[in-house]
């Protein structure tokens, strides 16, 4: 693995979630890595979140030369470049009756785009999330729509349906569950899933991937639910179980970086959203965490 830092300007010019805000309280100076750059974060004496780069020793909380900071969706976001836009919107987060829960921050030995592609994928439910998000023999991925919009610059996969054994806590048998996926950021995705409680609204699950290096990431997972029965622990553990099942798959993908050449792997109709995603990354000119297609 190369130890040189990221020189992909497109990737640098994005916001990245680096830690849940709740974990900063009272914890002193903490360290992490973003795109191979060691960074530290803490609250300063004015109670503001401060993020700064360092080369091995974080030192004291500086009062100058800090990185830009945003606090969004319960996480601290920062950037090493100059993003053109603010952090993308998730309007549902602000709805008063939602429960916003930080489910986990997990390290995974894989590239960031492989994590996103897995997040968009329904075909693996019966095989990887057996008896939770799917069950054999109900394996079909039905036709769905994929749109790439320019303003906002994002991919939307809609009308996605998948048969699930226990669609909701109250259901006695399986049923099709509806999903909508958004990819508003090369390494973040937001999923809307039909809510068992309110037909007109959807539960939101978001994944914010922080690339540590080209082949290692931290995945931050946010839940914004209408659920008012389960406690936070149960909801978190459920999400952790799901992600824990994806982890060995992700860590057994070869190559670890996402190949953008259309001839590197074999897509099927169910992979429409992944095809759009790979093309979108190519068009953006992203080179970090991917194997660019030899033009």
């Amino acid at each position: 693995m190369s130890t040189s830092k990221c020189d992909d300007q497109v990737t640098l010019d994005h916001w990245y979630a680096i830690a849940p805000i709740a974990e900063i309280e009272g914890a002193g100076i903490q360290q992490t890595t973003l795109l191979e750059q060691p960074i530290a974060y803490a609250r300063n004496s004015a109670r503001d979140v401060v993020v700064w780069t360092h080369e091995g020793v974080p030192g004291d909380v500086p009062d100058r030369n800090c990185l830009p900071v945003r606090e969004r969706y319960g996480y601290v976001w920062t950037t090493l470049g100059a993003p053109e836009h603010d952090v993308f919107p998730i309007p549902e987060y602000a709805e008063a009756d939602r429960r916003n829960i930080h489910a986990a921050t997990f390290g995974v030995n894989v590239s960031a785009p492989r994590v996103i592609e897995n997040f968009l994928d329904m075909g693996h439910f019966p095989f990887v999330h057996t008896d939770i998000l799917g069950a054999e023999p109900h394996t079909e991925v039905k036709e769905y729509f994929v749109e790439v919009s320019e303003d906002p610059d994002e991919i939307v996969a809609s009308n996605c349906k998948f048969w699930q054994p226990m669609a909701a806590a109250a259901s006695t048998g399986g049923a099709d569950v509806d999903y909508i996926y958004r990819v508003p950021h090369p390494y973040c995705s937001v999923l809307y899933k039909s809510s068992p409680l309110d037909e007109s609204r959807k539960d939101v699950i978001a994944i914010f991937v922080q690339p540590l290096s080209q082949e290692q990431v931290r995945a931050h997972m946010l839940l914004s639910l209408l659920d008012d029965t389960n406690n936070d622990t149960d909801i978190r553990l459920f999400q952790q179980t799901i992600f824990g099942q994806d982890k060995p798959i992700l860590e057994n993908q070869y190559p670890k970086r996402l190949p953008l050449d259309p001839r590197a792997e074999t897509p099927i109709r169910a992979d429409k959203s992944a095809i759009a995603y790979r093309r979108w990354l190519s068009e953006k000119g992203i080179t970090y965490g991917v194997i660019p297609s030899a033009a």
Partner: protein, 574 residues
């Protein structure tokens, strides 16, 4: 240098590393392999990367006849490594070209040998005919360093090491006992020492021998590793990641691809499997046969010049041959008679690669198979696949009499699901079908194959009892519709911007061919569906038996070998 290394044979496993239903993981020159033994004993050496999304196949499941990827459940066949099933699209037959990368492999001297581009036989090892395979010892060091230090390997005073031309090392003791050690280069700094000792051993003696050498070689390993740690590690090998074939780049559209390549097969066995039905076991003259899926058929080019379609009856993983069943049809067009009367064991026939217009869904909670007479052949292959996978089904076989029951040995595999209905009149058949098809339901499917009249009866009964078009699957052996070719009309080819005239007495398919436009076909009588093409505009007179009623009503497809335009003009999507 690298290419030299790649053309060598290397031992990559002991035979005992490959028990049934296990997937062994190893590496050669930087490339990982998933290695698995099928229930028939065949050793598959595949690149350790599912062609779909790159997941290691070594975390997949060896089902004995195929390997199932852990991520999306794709199944790859024994021997051919071709994909036979994609669960996300259960109604489709996967493209024939989805095939994992395989590598030459041979099993000899108790070892499995492989090489990226090795050809010919694995090395002969004179003096090691009755050898014992020692426990393999992996080590973190380059192969060359290990080979050099192995020269000093010793289990008693007077051992002498000697380097062999093939890179292995032979160490001989004064009493003639010899150990030959081969090096497997996993990567540039990671190798395996695989030793053979030139005598057989069993029982306690064997255990003692293996332990002693395991211990001594581990001692040597520690010394080699500390030497390797003191020097700079060489850069890892960069194996080339082969690209998939061009036609897999785009999402495959529905429909079959042209298959022209002809295969040569030899009739290895010819048997009378039932009254008036011969089975032919066809084995490749050279090389391997392409992957088939349950429901697939092949074109057989007969000695009399005719071409006929026959379904493959094989079970999953039976990839070394195709077995077909042929019924003698005295009133037929002569193809079956040619086979019955002239084809003998040892004859060589030309066949097409398998083509599947009758794919088997495996996302059903229960499947009902309805076979009539020789129509049993594709359904046998399907039922064998379902059985191997433990899926729920029942199998109804309508025959004239006991003597007409074909392929008994295969039916025996799923005896509990089998009901044979003997000698029923058409009315009694109808009544039985009514019972059999009494219960449509969520994720239940029916597959029907048999003579035209029975097939139609079954379809009508199914429809009357509430089975939807999407749940009733059928394949006709012959088109019983009286084809009318007396009309004349015009066709526009949307993609090639051509306009052609179809006169009376000619089919659309023939006109296309006359104008140099090749579209695949097989039965050419409106039964198999291979020559199907899209209709953009115009009305169709459907004269085929392969489209469903819904598809016919929709008017978006046409079977070009029999069907014609109802309007003056048809715009086709070619």
């Amino acid at each position: 240098m690298m290419s030299d290394l790649q053309s060598n044979w290397y031992p990559i496993a002991s035979s005992s590393d490959l028990p049934r239903r296990h997937v062994y993981q190893t590496q050669l020159l930087g490339r990982e392999f998933a290695v698995w033994r099928a229930d028939d004993g065949y050793v598959n050496v595949w690149e350790n990367r599912c062609l779909h999304r790159g997941v290691r196949l070594s975390i997949g499941i060896n089902n004995g006849t195929d390997l199932k990827c852990q991520y999306h459940g794709w199944r790859y066949a024994n021997r051919t490594a071709g994909c036979t099933y994609i669960p996300a699209h259960p109604a489709d037959a996967p493209a024939r070209t989805i095939c994992n990368n395989t590598y030459p492999a041979q099993e000899a001297h108790g070892l499995v040998w492989a090489g990226e581009t090795a050809v010919g036989a694995v090395p002969e090892l004179p003096g090691f005919e009755d050898a014992t395979v020692l426990r393999a010892i992996p080590l973190n060091a380059p192969m060359d360093l290990a080979a050099r230090m192995l020269l000093g390997y010793s289990w008693e005073d007077g051992c002498k090491g000697q380097a062999n031309a093939d890179g292995s090392v032979t160490v001989t003791a004064a009493d003639g006992t010899a150990v030959r050690v081969f090096l497997q280069p996993m990567d540039s700094n990671h190798s395996v020492m695989r030793g053979l000792i030139n005598r057989p051993a069993s029982g306690k003696e064997r255990a003692a021998l293996l332990r002693r050498h395991s211990w001594l070689m581990q001692e040597l390993r520690d010394r080699i590793e500390s030497r390797a740690a003191a020097q700079d590690a060489p850069a890892p090998y960069q194996p080339v990641i082969a690209k998939v074939s061009d036609d897999l780049v785009d999402i495959p559209a529905l429909g079959a691809a042209a298959l022209r390549a002809e295969l040569r097969v030899q009739v290895a066995r010819r048997e009378l499997t039932a009254e008036g039905i011969v089975s032919l076991r066809l084995e490749p003259v050279t090389g391997k046969l392409p992957t088939f899926q349950p429901g697939a058929h092949i074109d057989v080019h007969l000695p009399n010049g005719q071409v006929r379609q026959y379904s493959i009856t094989n079970g999953p993983g039976e990839t070394g041959h195709y077995t077909i069943g042929v019924k003698r049809e005295p009133d037929g067009r002569g193809g079956s008679i040619a086979i019955h009367d002239t084809v003998q064991e040892g004859d060589v026939l030309a066949i097409s690669a398998p083509r599947n217009n009758f794919p088997l869904r495996r996302d059903s909670t229960h499947t009902i198979f309805v076979a009539g007479g020789i129509g049993v052949t594709p359904l046998i292959s399907m039922a064998r696949a379902m059985n191997a996978q433990g899926l729920s089904f029942e199998f109804h076989y309508f025959v004239q009499s006991d003597d007409h029951v074909a392929f008994r040995q295969h039916l025996g595999e799923f005896e509990r699901a089998l009901v044979i209905h003997k000698g029923l009149s058409p009315d009694a058949t109808g009544a039985t079908l009514k019972e059999v098809l009494a219960e449509p339901g969520f994720a239940r499917h029916v597959y029907i194959c048999g003579p035209g009249r029975m097939l139609e009866a079954a379809r009508d009964i199914a429809a009357a009892q509430g089975w939807t078009d999407e749940t009733v699957h059928f394949e006709y052996f012959a088109n019983t519709v009286e084809v009318d070719d007396s009309t004349a009309f015009e066709i526009d080819l949307a993609r090639s911007a051509l306009t052609l005239q179809v006169p009376a007495g000619k089919t659309i398919l023939e006109v296309l061919r006359d104008n140099g436009i090749d579209i695949p076909s097989s039965c050419e009588q409106g039964a198999c569906g291979t020559c199907r093409c899209g209709v953009i505009k115009g009305d169709v007179i459907h004269q085929d038996v392969c489209l469903t009623n819904a598809e016919k009503a929709e008017g978006k497809s046409i079977i070009t070998c029999v069907s014609r335009a109802a309007s003056e003009r048809l715009i086709l999507d070619i």
